[in-house]
Symmetry: C2
Subunit: 359 residues, 2 copies
């Protein structure tokens, strides 16, 4: 498996998120802070300077938000992390000077943008001149095959997180469940399919960055590589089957990874696709039916649990939303960040035991 550069664990990131640090707008920064907080020393966002990560996100403790690159330097970062992954994935023009200053100071740059920093006509040569590594997390390996269906030979139980929209918690649900299952002694692998999952896991393929004909092939390879030492492979979902810009990636990931089961991720407060108000998100039962219908012609797969993202609800609203999801679908539900991930983890282990008992 061609892997992204593994996290050395020794990074001290200054995270670039100017004007964009927030629960829904700085996905890469947020996941890095949630899962590897010791790698982040400061976040640059002029509009929120003086706050902490916890003030802005509700987690991340005392990591400071700073007003400028120079303020960030006081926290002795040794690397830069581009903290956003906007639609289309380009570096904001105004950030270029900051990235250049980091490179000139010898700071490696980590980026999940579609537009590769290493290919930038100014930043690429600058980094090479200074001998500074650029980690473009979305750059795909060059030898991805066309999918073959070989993934059907995998003995592990493959579970894909899917959802009603982009940036709704598919990666987070998978990581929370992974950690919960590992704490209970299960052999579980996480297959990272996006820049942030790769940043956290240290390997993976960004399936939205491969050439379109190879989406399923990339997904297949991720599962084949993750499966051998695991009983459960949790595949990080991407996009949504109703997303007007990215649905191709989602469907290719479903048909390439051929999961045995789905975990459905939604945000109760979200009624329309973000930035696409003309697309109404189908009801939870409809989403369940649609995913099962799409999988069926290749390999039938049920939705076995629901993971809700309730960060913008009160505790009582969140509990009500979970009860409602359970009632609507007849499936176990939880918010695996806010509450115990066990309802999802247990559903997966029950499914795995039933599946392997009958095979």
């Amino acid at each position: 498996m061609t892997v992204a550069p593994a996290a050395s664990g020794a990074e001290r990131f200054l995270v670039l998120a100017d004007g964009a640090f927030g629960p829904e707008s700085s996905k890469t920064a947020n996941a890095c802070i949630r899962y590897t907080p010791s790698r982040v020393v400061a976040v640059w966002d002029g509009a929120r300077a003086g706050k902490t990560a916890h003030d802005v996100l509700g987690f991340g403790g005392a990591i400071p938000v700073v007003a400028s690159f120079d303020d960030g330097l006081r926290h002795e970062p040794n690397a830069l992390l581009i903290g956003i992954a906007p639609p289309g994935g380009r570096l904001p023009e105004s950030w270029k000077a900051v990235v250049a200053r980091g490179i000139e100071r010898g700071m490696p740059v980590w980026s999940g943008l579609h537009t590769f920093i290493g290919d930038d006509p100014e930043l690429g040569p600058l980094a090479r001149r200074h001998g500074v590594p650029i980690h473009d997390l979305r750059r795909p390996p060059e030898d991805i095959p066309v999918a073959t269906g070989r993934v059907r030979e995998v003995k592990a139980t493959v579970v894909l997180t899917v959802g009603s929209d982009c940036n709704i918690g598919k990666m987070t649900a998978a990581l929370q469940v992974r950690d919960h299952m590992r704490a209970h002694g299960h052999r579980v692998a996480f297959a990272g399919t996006g820049q942030t999952g790769i940043l956290i896991e240290g390997r993976g393929i960004s399936v939205d960055a491969v050439v379109a004909d190879f989406i399923a092939g990339a997904a297949e390879r991720l599962v084949l590589d993750a499966a051998p030492d695991s009983d459960i492979v949790l595949v990080e979902g991407q996009g949504s089957i109703v997303h007007p810009s990215y649905s191709g990636v989602t469907y290719g990931l479903i048909h390439g990874s051929l999961p045995h089961a789905f975990v459905m991720c939604t945000q109760p407060s979200r009624t329309h696709v973000n930035n696409n108000e003309w697309v109404r998100i189908p009801s939870l039962p409809d989403l369940v039916r649609m995913h099962e219908a799409v999988a069926a012609p290749l390999r039938p797969a049920p939705v076995i649990a629901v993971a809700l993202n309730t960060y913008d609800l009160s505790d009582s609203e969140a509990r009500r939303a979970i009860a409602e999801a359970e009632q609507q679908t007849g499936l176990p539900a939880t918010d695996p960040v806010r509450f115990d991930p066990a309802p999802v983890s247990d559903a997966i282990m029950r499914f795995h035991q039933q599946r392997t008992a009958t095979h």
Copy 2:
């Protein structure tokens, strides 16, 4: 619109299809021969040397099949066309020497492979040294945006050909219907989405070759560019929603082009996805239902006609298959190559008139 190099019309292609010239194995060659036969002087396929295109394909008249590159030269070609587009799209190693000889003789190379000839470490520099153009039809423009749904503003009626498998007649159905409609005075555009459609039309974007996040954006741009001077935009379909390798491209094309209606293309004799015998093709009524379900959350679109590919059936079998398709779906059906395309064309014009009358 960034277009592929327009066909000059002055090419005299030697088509490379060694060991692969046939109804199902040399898609690019076959479409070029069907729609622009005057551009083809000979086909290289040692296994079928001495035959004519008509002998092998059932169309293409006296275009000769030759045993070698040297035999091909006797027909005075001035360009090479790679006649195949195999899974994964690489140039057979054994063809490289032939392509190199063509380049050395000053013959431009046209290719629809995923692996760009212009990027080949030997052939690319060789072509540049000789000043010979390489037309890599699948090379995408560099400025494709993320899809926005702007395609909903288009006044023309957008019709997408979809189908039960790859290489089953989606492009051919669209081209046959285009020609039939034009002959009847309708303003109809063809939006080429694959290497062969681009070769024939002289413009388009190969949606399977763009970065995965931009499939829908490419489809949207194709429709926006084709729409202004047309009442009908026929979008060339790709892959199939049940194809285990390429379904992502198909779904992205559906959600990016947001057709008002579908034309369903199938081959009655094909029961399983080619090269993927583990995937059974759903019944025609199921395919109709599945496509309508996938479109519905973004913009409802009915299947309005069926185009059958009956090349491997007798006349009476073909007529029976058409009657059966009509009976199963309640929709008009035809084989638009073998018989009159009118049932499909008329269904599109009726749909267009109803749609515009009520808007």
